[in-house]
Symmetry: C2
Subunit: 208 residues, 2 copies
């Protein structure tokens, strides 16, 4: 009972904060997450153990750099929800009610408490979240997501394989040069921008 | 013999291209890599098998996004060379000659063809490359390297653990909102910059 009241208070506070801040989360998404948390239930000790899945406190200043990290987080959410969907029991044949669930706001159904019914609801809800994440990624984080995915694949490099070691050594000149050139280009671009700004200022406010 | 001539021609061509392009690679670094490639020897078929360790052809347009990928590549080079160093035989006690190797340009020594001697030379050369990579990272890719490292750690997420699944679900609202807010902020910044530019143009060239 206490846990339910606490969850309700948390949800209300969250919705209030979202409204004040001007949140981008659709109401249906909020509801869907709250419903799913009832299915994927863990204790408060497990939830607040101080080890978040994705670190929120990264020492990043540049917006574009932060966006690559967020692109990676979205990639991982897509993979995780895909995995959660694959863990559900085999789906029932789709009915008109299921279709309705996909298109309308989700309200927990009455009389759907059978194992298969619960599984189907969870599937509909997870699919909805997956579609929202994919949409956000496609519209705003396409390039960042690709780079993050490429970085994930670098994790697999076989460090003790002589072919990998030799090939990487053979390419080091190229990468070192590329890294230095790119940094230099960025510095030149910034200098040019600064000079253009100064020139404009002189034109607008010429000295007496 | 043919392979040696081919390697020499390749090196000459590379040095020529570097000079034309204005390369950032110190001459000592080039020599060191060529020396090491004699130690980490693989066949041409293995080297040119069409599977590079780090992909050079990424569809990235934004400089900052590309820099995060390169930050990740530098991180991996650091890890790989560290691993290669750990694979070498136990070092001899350091002598004045070794110290000289570390501070002066490297020339393959005469009479160092014993197993331990070769190992020591390779160690000095790998340490030199490692110091160059660390230097480049520290000066120009610090933030990008950190983000890439954080993304590498995301690879380890345990997808089939209910605690991870539930915690990630509980944080989805925060990440979705953060991703949307960041994109919006970037768009607003761009719009402001564009308006400022237009306003300056109007001031500099007022209509008759």
């Amino acid at each position: 009972m206490v846990a339910t009241v606490r969850a309700a208070v948390c949800l209300c506070l969250w919705l209030l904060v979202c409204q004040v801040r001007g949140s981008y989360i659709p109401q249906r998404m909020n509801k869907t997450i709250q419903n799913l948390l009832k299915h994927y239930k863990i204790s408060d000790d497990q939830r607040y153990d101080g080890k978040p899945v994705f670190s929120k406190k990264l020492p990043i200043n540049k917006t574009e750099t932060k966006m690559v990290y967020i692109g990676g987080v979205l990639e991982k959410y897509e993979e995780l929800i895909g995995h959660m969907l694959s863990e559900l029991p085999t789906p029932r044949p789709q009915t008109a009610t299921d279709q309705q669930h996909l298109t309308s706001a989700f309200t927990p159904g009455v009389g759907t408490n059978t194992e298969a019914g619960v599984g189907d609801n969870v599937r509909v809800e997870l699919k909805y979240l997956l579609s929202k994440i994919k949409e956000l990624k496609r519209h705003h984080y396409e390039e960042e997501g690709k780079v993050a995915k490429e970085l994930f694949s670098l994790k697999k490099i076989q460090m003790n394989d002589i072919v990998t070691q030799s090939k990487a050594l053979g390419n080091l000149q190229w990468w070192y040069d590329e890294a230095s050139t790119l940094k230099k280009q960025q510095q030149i671009q910034r200098q040019r921008r600064r000079r253009r700004r100064q020139a404009r200022r002189v034109k607008t406010h010429p000295r007496a």
